[in-house]
Structure formats: structure tokens, C-alpha cells
């Protein structure tokens, strides 16, 4: 059984109003030295069996089509053991 974690983040050059709001709140609530916060999302996908190359190809394709919006977001796949 394989676990794949897909992390989706706004591209660095894209404005992230939520991240900025969290940054303001962290500072206001007492955390000093917060220089930036970026907010994203994570998908944890469990597979029966191993992640073979064919499934990896399909997942990589779907990550760009379904999980992330490549116009404004970057995504990364990570396999957890």
C-alpha cells in the first residue's frame, strides 16, 4: 500500500489574500518576526498496492487537471513510505 501526498500552493508570484490575513493575525496574536505566510492545500491519497510507473503517470496528470489549477497554482507529489 502506498500513500501519496499532493501539495498544492499558489504560485509564488500570485497574490494570496488568505495567507496575508493569517500573517497579520499571527503577528497580532503575539508571534514575532512573521515575514510571510502562504496558504495551500494537501491531498493524502492511499492506494491499494504500490505506486507503479503507470499509476504515477496517471496521478501526475490528474494532479494538474483536477487537484491543482496550473494557471495559478504549483503542485508537488510526494510518496510516503
Amino acid at each position: 500500500m502506498a500513500r501519496i501526498v499532493v501539495t498544492v500552493m499558489l504560485k509564488p508570484e500570485i497574490l494570496d489574500p488568505q495567507g496575508a490575513a493569517v500573517r497579520g493575525a499571527l503577528t497580532r496574536l503575539g508571534l514575532s518576526g512573521v515575514s510571510d505566510v502562504r496558504q495551500g492545500k494537501q491531498f493524502v491519497i492511499d492506494l491499494d498496492g504500490a505506486l507503479d510507473s503507470e499509476r504515477e503517470m496517471v496521478l501526475t496528470k490528474l494532479a494538474g487537471e483536477l487537484l491543482a489549477n496550473p494557471v495559478i497554482e504549483d503542485y508537488q507529489l510526494r510518496v510516503e513510505d
Partner: protein, 748 residues
């Protein structure tokens, strides 16, 4: 995030350097300039432009900012402007302003955000709403409500749900966060918009007459304040060419073409700006939209009486690596620029601080005639502002009537081409077919995502009514008539509420102006709209032109979306769709001809687009408006007839109320099919207590409008239509079946 610009000493293209290096090759073609346009810039300046100047001219002389292809035609809106005392501010400012009486003024405008909404539907639509709200705010008004006119591809196309859900969520998300109600609009499906959806957003705001503000920088020594969001690399697009040209490779590689909106920042901007207005601290104001600082600085300076000096290095940045050219071009959202007297600057900065809005003095009004922009100690822009903002190129592009139009117009929906229903049962089926079609079905799926009731306070005084309409198929059959029909429908929509139509805003969506046939469609539509507005006495107060709406060489239908604003002296006297009571009489006002070309019946039942659109009758339209307005105390409910004709209007009355209708056409000249499905103009269904029927019909006769007594409102749930071939009976549940499910089906 680095919030202070790093003072990196770059190889800056200064005015001085431009003067001494006339032969430097510049990427003017990559920025969309034509050879003669580039030469004209050199002639104006008497030297080559610096890269910053080139950036400014290229964006300000683009079609989007300069209206270079449309200007020669748009002048008709001024030349044919009807005499009216209502217009306080006309075309040329951020939005037009109309007097509605008692010292109150209303400002409204519709603007397109078509291309961004195709690239990124959610953010494109959201920033479209944000942009038009700032236009209204910049006039001095409190934004009150938004509307939107949306056009998508074919309902069955795989890509359509993606665009629809993104656009609708974007419009709703941004408007709802601002606390502005969405009060209506359109959502139309047609395959011609498949690769080029239309997102036209309208905002309306109100203010006292004395609060009207204009976009001009006057008063030597006054300070130029940039406030709102920090400037990032948003929407810079092609100007990165300059950065890579001028600078070494340490600059950022990527500049996003997508702008992301932040409605909460916009809300702060609104409240902060309104407080400055209330304390009378602002001499001139401009929002930052397309072309960002290039546009705001050059327009403010151009409208003022002197020059302006701007220190670009003072602009607060979200991305410290931006080059001066990129800062000038950035379309980062939620920014405004105000001109403030030095005595008031402390107060302005205090107000901004109070609302947590970043504000920076970036320059001042000078007595020189030029707009001068500095980057640290270097002068990088030194131009006469009018040449950037107002005296750009103007093209009288060639146009001719499309050769294919004759064939299309002669392809009338005749009985041979489009067989008509032969029995009452057949007509009954077609009513249901229309109700379940993409363009006539219930929009609850969409409107439920919008906040419709916020700010819905109890009102006892003056009110306004706004409508936004167009039928692109009419435009495809005859753009002159199509534009007038859009005007006619919006005018009628406002009139049936009992309001007096006052003014017009328009969003003219067309294909490429470089195609002479498209240019002809545009010219005809403008001519039609200008003539129509003159006849109706409602001036065009402002709006927007969106060209190049096409996929490869196929242009969209000519889509001149028209917004009409009307005023009600007392909103308690307005007419709605909901006031009828059982036993009230149902009257059809207006003449019905056999007019099906471009209409919903031909489109839905036969997929046919041909013939000549319904005949325009603006005199009748005015008469209809006056009869309804003058008898609004007698009229219990009213519904205008437009898409789908009487069949759809009657169905909607039953669907949206808890009564039935029992009607027949005994009192009319036309056959049942024509009565039900024709889309003739200047018609409305009204209900009234039976004792008032004669008064209303006499009033119609007095102004030359035919009227027919169709029947009565009933206490049951049925739409019952008696025809020569039998009775058509439809229960509310039957009417609702397809009508209420279609939108969700399109989206699944």
C-alpha cells in the same frame, strides 16, 4: 515577503540616456505597437522613448485603453445625445452620473472582463466586479449593488461547467464579501461564446450632488497619494520583454498574467475612500484598473491643469524585484490614487491608517506641463500626459456589410423552414421545451450563490431600477436593429417596474476590428444604439468596448449589452411580478406580429438562426412605459414580454406566484401560436382589479397602443390557455419540472 524596495542599482534607461542613444533597438512590436505608432511616439518626444515611456505608451495606446478603433464611432453617443437635464457627468469620466432628484445622484456603469475570465474564470470574474466597483467609488459614490451579464458556450459542451462555475463563484465570492447585493443580470448559453465567454459586470452607486468627484490632478503643490494594496507583478504580461531587454538576468523570470482579487481589501478601500470624501479631503481621484499606474498618473495629469511629478521608487511593492517599467504597468487590484492638498495630507494618512490601508505620497502636482516619473534620482519618464492618455492613435478602420448577411436575412423561419405546432397539445409540449431550455430555465442555481438581500433595508423614498439586456442572435441578424432591441428590452424592463428610464450604459462586445465585417457590425450597432437613445431620450453616460472576442477567425455574435437606469419617486409605488390577486384581470398591452427570427422558439425548437429580427418600435416602447408609470397605482403586477414571448411570461407568472391564470386569445387578431411565441417588442402583461380594466385600456388607446383582455387570475395552480384547437392546461408542477432542473443538469 519583502515590503521595502531594495535599492538595487540597475542599468536604468533614463531620459538623458534615451536622448544620447537614438539608435537603440526597442521591442515596440513585441509590446503591440505598430511601426507608425512607434514613430509617432518618437515625434512627440523628439527622441526615442525610454523603456518606461515605451511601456506607458504601449499599454495606453492599446485597443483596450485607447478605444482607437471604436472612438470614431462612439462619438455618435455625444453627437446624438438627447436633451436631458438629468445627466450631471457624461462619457469620459470613470462613470456617468445622473440626477435622480432631491439632491441625489446615481452613477452606474457596465464593463467587460471577458478575456481574464476565460484564462482563470474565478479570478477573472471576481476582479471584473472589483474593477467596476472602484470605478463607481471613484466618482464619489457609495457602491450599492452589482449586476452581471454573462455569456457562456453551448450548455452541452464539456468545458462549459468549468467556466460557468468559476465565473459565478467569482462574481458571487467578490460581491458577497463586499456586502453588495447582486440584483440581476443575464446568463446566456450559445456556442459562439465557447472559446470566448463574456463577463460584463455593472455597478450602481449613489451620492449627493456635492460629493461628485472627478479624475483630475490640479492645484500646484497638491500631493499624489497611492493607497490600497501593494503593487505586485500582476497582469504585466508582455512588458516583461522590457525587463529582460534592459536588465541583467537577475530579474524574476515569471510574471503572472492572472490578477487575484482581495475583496476584503476592497471593502476597506471603499470605507476609507468614503470617509475621505465625507471630510472633503480629496481634490481628484482615480482608481487603478487596466494599465495601473500608467493610466492613473497620465489621466489625472491630463485632466488637470499642470503637470505631475511621480517618484516611482516610493510605490510600496509586494515583490521587490519589480522593474520600474513593470511597476508602471502592473494591474495589481485594490489600489486608488488621490490628489490631496498638503494641509489635508496628515488627516488622509490618519484615515488610511485607521482602515489599515497602506498609503504613500508618491508625487505632487507641478506647474510644468509634463508628467515626470523618477526612479530614485533618475528621470525615466518625461511626457506630455495628454499624448499618453487622450491623444492616442485613432483609426477609422475599413468596414463593409458582410456578404453572407443577405443569405442569412432571407432565411426566414417560414412554416416550411420551421414547422409550427399543429395542435394544442403540440404547443403545450413546446412551451415545456422552451421552459426547460438553457436560456429560459430557472437561474436559481446561479442566483442562490449571490447575496441578493443584503442592504435590503426598509425604504420609503426614492428608488432606482436597473436592467441589463441583450440578445446576440438579433445582433447576428442585424446589428443596427439588434442594438436597438437590446436597448428596447432593457428600457421595457425598467418601465414595467413603474420607474422612469433616465440613462444608458453599454458594454459593446464584438470580434476583431481588423476584420471589416466585424467592424461593420460594430459601426452599425453603435449607430443603432445612438439613434435609439436619442429617440428614447436616454443618453449613454458611459460604458466599455470589448473587441477581439473571437476564437481563431470566428467572431462572437455582435453582443451590445445595454443597461438602462430608471428612477422611482417613491419605491413603495413600484410594480412587481407578485401583486396580483385571484379574479384580477389579465391584460396584454402592445401589438403582436408574426416575429420569430432570432427568437427563442426558432432557436430552441428548430436550432434556426435566420431572417430579420423583430421590428423596433421605440415610440410604442415609450408609450408602454408612460401608460404603466401613470397607472402604477392601478396595476397589481406586470411582466414584460421578451425572450420566449407571452408563453414564457405567463409561465413565469404562474411559477413565481401562488395563483393560476386562465387566458384566451378571443380578444386578439393573431393565432394562438403567434400570440404565444412571437417576440414582438413593446409588450407587457399586466394584472389589475376588474373594475380598472377600462381605465387602463382607454389609456392604451389614447397613446395608440393596442391592448387585449386575455383572461383572469385564478385561485388554482394552473396555467390554462384556451386556443381555437382546444385548451392547453399546465399545472405549476408540470411547468416547474424541466424549468427548475435544467441548470443543475448543465452543471453536472
Amino acid at each position: 515577503m519583502n515590503t521595502t524596495p531594495i535599492s538595487v542599482r540597475r542599468d536604468i534607461d533614463t531620459v538623458e540616456r534615451a536622448g544620447s542613444t537614438p539608435d537603440v533597438q526597442q521591442p515596440w512590436a513585441d509590446l503591440g505597437l505598430k511601426p507608425d505608432e512607434y514613430q509617432r511616439i518618437r515625434d512627440i518626444l523628439g527622441r526615442r522613448p525610454t523603456s518606461a515611456e515605451l511601456a506607458m505608451y504601449s499599454v495606453m495606446w492599446s485597443e483596450h485603453c485607447s478605444y482607437k478603433s471604436s472612438k470614431v464611432h462612439l462619438r455618435q453617443f455625444g453627437a446624438k445625445q438627447p436633451q436631458t437635464d438629468a445627466m450631471l457627468v457624461g462619457i469620459g469620466e470613470n462613470a456617468g452620473v445622473v440626477d435622480i432628484g432631491d439632491g441625489w445622484a446615481v452613477t452606474f456603469k457596465v464593463e467587460s472582463h471577458n478575456h481574464p475570465s476565460f484564462v482563470e474564470p474565478y479570478q477573472g470574474a471576481a476582479t471584473g466586479v472589483g474593477g467596476i466597483v472602484r470605478d463607481i467609488l471613484a466618482m464619489g459614490a457609495r457602491p450599492l449593488a452589482v449586476m452581471d451579464s454573462l455569456r457562456f458556450g453551448a450548455p452541452e459542451h464539456l468545458d462549459t461547467p468549468r467556466i460557468v462555475s468559476g465565473v459565478v463563484a467569482g462574481v458571487g465570492g467578490y460581491g458577497n464579501c463586499l456586502g453588495l447585493p447582486n440584483i440581476g443580470g443575464e446568463a446566456v448559453f450559445d456556442s459562439c461564446y465557447q472559446g470566448n465567454p463574456l463577463v460584463n459586470a455593472l455597478c450602481v452607486g449613489a451620492m449627493r450632488h456635492e460629493d461628485i468627484h472627478l479624475a483630475k490632478a490640479s492645484g500646484v503643490g497638491n500631493l499624489v497619494v497611492l493607497y490600497g494594496a501593494r503593487t505586485g507583478g500582476d497582469g504585466i504580461g508582455g512588458v516583461s520583454v522590457l525587463a529582460s531587454e534592459t536588465f541583467d538576468a537577475t530579474g524574476p523570470a515569471k510574471r503572472p498574467s492572472v490578477q487575484v482579487g482581495d475583496p476584503f481589501m476592497e471593502k476597506l478601500l471603499i470605507e476609507c475612500t468614503l470617509q475621505m470624501f465625507a471630510e472633503k479631503l480629496v481634490e481628484g481621484i482615480q482608481d487603478l484598473g487596466g494599465a495601473g499606474l500608467s493610466c492613473a498618473t497620465s489621466e489625472l495629469a491630463s485632466n488637470g491643469d499642470g503637470g505631475m511629478r511621480v517618484h516611482l521608487d516610493r510605490v510600496p511593492l509586494r515583490d521587490a524585484t519589480l522593474s520600474p517599467e513593470e511597476i508602471l504597468m502592473s494591474e495589481s487590484q485594490e489600489r486608488m490614487m488621490a490628489v490631496v492638498h498638503p494641509d489635508n495630507i496628515e488627516r488622509v494618512m490618519h484615515i488610511c491608517q485607521r482602515w489599515d490601508v497602506t498609503a504613500t505620497v508618491i508625487g505632487e502636482v507641478t506647474n510644468a506641463s509634463h508628467l515626470q516619473v523618477y526612479w530614485h534620482d533618475d528621470l525615466i519618464v518625461d511626457v506630455p500626459p495628454r499624448t499618453v492618455a487622450h491623444d492616442g492613435p485613432v483609426y477609422d478602420r475599413p468596414f463593409h456589410r458582410p456578404a453572407w448577411l443577405d443569405a442569412r436575412q432571407s432565411d426566414e423561419p417560414t412554416t416550411e423552414r420551421c414547422p409550427r405546432p399543429s395542435t394544442a397539445e403540440h404547443m403545450r409540449q413546446q412551451i415545456l421545451e422552451l421552459l426547460a431550455s438553457a436560456n429560459l430555465c430557472d437561474r436559481e442555481w446561479l442566483t442562490s450563490q449571490y447575496d441578493r438581500y443584503v442592504l435590503g433595508n426598509t425604504t420609503t423614498g426614492r428608488g432606482i431600477a436597473v436592467s441589463l439586456d441583450c440578445n446576440g442572435r438579433f445582433g447576428a441578424l442585424d446589428p443596427y436593429v439588434g442594438a436597438q432591441l437590446a436597448l428596447s428590452e432593457a428600457y421595457r424592463n425598467v418601465a414595467v417596474s413603474g420607474a422612469t428610464p433616465l440613462a444608458v450604459t453599454d458594454c459593446l462586445n464584438f470580434g476583431s476590428p481588423e476584420d471589416p465585417e466585424v467592424m461593420w457590425q460594430f459601426a452599425e450597432a453603435v449607430r443603432g444604439l445612438a439613434d435609439g437613445c436619442l429617440e428614447l431620450g436616454t443618453p449613454v453616460t458611459g460604458g466599455n468596448v470589448s473587441l477581439y472576442n473571437q476564437t481563431a477567425t470566428t467572431a462572437i455574435h455582435p453582443t451590445p449589452v445595454v443597461g438602462v437606469l430608471g428612477v422611482l419617486d417613491d419605491v413603495r409605488t413600484r410594480i412587481t411580478m407578485h401583486g396580483a390577486k385571484p379574479a384580477d384581470a389579465v391584460i396584454l398591452i402592445g401589438a403582436t406580429q408574426e416575429e420569430f427570427a432570432g427568437g427563442e422558439w426558432a432557436h430552441v425548437v428548430h436550432g434556426h438562426l435566420g431572417g430579420t429580427p423583430p421590428q423596433v418600435n421605440l415610440v410604442a416602447e415609450r408609450s408602454l412605459a408612460s401608460v404603466i408609470r401613470d397607472h402604477r397605482h392601478l396595476i397589481t403586477s406586470a411582466h414584460d414580454l421578451s425572450d420566449g414571448g407571452l408563453a414564457i411570461a405567463l409561465s413565469e407568472l404562474v411559477l413565481r406566484n401562488d395563483y393560476g391564470l386562465d387566458v384566451s386569445f378571443a380578444d386578439t387578431d393573431a393565432d394562438a401560436f403567434t400570440m404565444l411565441f412571437s417576440e414582438s417588442v413593446a409588450r407587457a402583461v399586466v394584472t389589475t382589479a376588474s373594475e380598472n380594466v377600462d381605465a387602463i385600456r382607454a389609456a392604451c388607446e389614447l397613446v395608440g397602443l393596442p391592448s387585449a383582455l386575455l383572461g383572469t387570475v385564478t385561485a388554482d395552480d394552473f396555467l390554462s390557455i384556451t386556443t381555437a384547437d382546444g385548451v392547453i392546461t399546465l399545472s405549476r408542477a408540470e411547468l416547474a419540472e424541466g424549468w427548475s432542473r435544467t441548470f443543475a443538469r448543465i452543471m453536472s
